[in-house]
Amino acid sequence: MSEALLHLDAVSKVFPISGGESVQAVDHVTFDVEENRICVLLGPSGCGKSTILRMIAGLEAPSDGAVTLHGKPVIGPARDRGMVFQAYTSFDWLSVRRNVEFGMKVNGVPHAERRERAAHFIDLVGLTKFAEAYPSQLSGGMRQRVAIARTLANGPELLLMDEPFGALDAETRWHMQELMIDIARQENTTMVIVTHDIEEAIFLADKIIFLSSHPGRLKEVIVPEFKHGARIDDKEHIVQLPGYAELEQKIMRLMREEGSREEQ
């Protein structure tokens, strides 16, 4: 068992809303993320997944509890926790290469090293031909790959992604998911990925944190045992493995329970 890189200890988040009222988005959530693992936060829409991810990133402070990285409490955003959003975040005034170099530049990485690392990560996401292009010339999937390369090139300990492929068409999404498995293998990246797509969760996850809604509570930690600890990089292959269908059904049942609970 690898050591926990990230630890959430009874983390809660209460948002004040208008009229002096407040809404509890996250309620005492505790889990670990081990080094070099892919952890997926899954749950119905509005269950607090983004809020949890934003607290890990330091973009939002927990109302209660603590987020710790290597045992040190997280205060504010920093380079050790890179984030990829669902919305496009390319810096339109910079070429792809300069987008990917951005984080390294503001962190004072020397020019030659910057160039080299940028070239490596642009190649990793398959955009070498477009290194000098501007984001507005790229498709949605390519822009998202720029965002991933930009975050990874900055050398974070943790890659955080909030429904990164949600805006992409089905085929592109599938390619991106396979790309993430490749990246995790080649770069030994620890990832926390938010999704509400069950298939995506099972395909990517070493561990699934399933959340229930209103308020967001940890419902179940699911380890896809049928993978036997291996990562399968072929989507067509994984759905045929024994155990896949059962797990998918189990998660669908959990989702449906949440849905019916909400209607009451």
Partner: protein
Amino acid sequence: MPTPHQARHFLEIRKPVSRPQAILSAFGIWAVFFGIWSVAAHSGWVNALLVPPPDQVFATTWDLFASRGFASDVLISITRVLVSFAMACAVAIPLGVMMGTFPSVEAIFNPFVGAWRYLPAPSFIPILLMWFGTGEAPKLALLFIGVVFFLITLVMDHTKNVRKELIETALTLGASRQVTVMQVVFPAALPDIFTAMRQMLAMAWTYLVIAEIVASTTGIGAMMMRARRFLKTDEILSGIIVIGALGLFFDLAFGRLHRWLFPYRKETR
């Protein structure tokens, strides 16, 4: 080739017109305008003293530049616009970006700037004349006041429109607040700020003419007021044409510059 069942009507709802048709239409409307003007002035429908024919106005315009030193008036007017506009930008852009980025800064300045916007700049002319006398200062001050408060508000709004995710991306990449503002918020808002500058430059021309008509002995507006005293309607109309041409020129130049500076903006349109 249009097939019979899709024959084009002249009035097609929101169908773009071809380039030749666009050019023909534009020239056509101006030809009609000058045609009516010309016929009205030459045929004596209107008093030719009050409405001189266009050919006379153009001849006068030429003569003003060629032999009566009008170029120096034009140059003075352009200088006033550009100097006061540069001063307004130097204040409005940094302040507007700060206000659009930091709600604490907005909370200080917005109640102030917001109120000034409702004061028509020309209402300051009498007091500006008392404070600054008759030199360049009151004219520059009027143009500055007329432009700066609107520009601050526009820059602030465009800065606020920079998407939160862009800022948060910079922060999670390890950028400091200062780097985030200078290297993400500002460049992201810049194309829109530039468009706001283009709009406000047109407004600066409006205030220039007011300043020169009311209180100046130099510049295009002053020339027009001199001409009025001697009933030189052709010179007044020349002044109007030159002001229009300059406004058009600066607007086109800004448009060009925008496309050149922000080529990535074109492709998303």
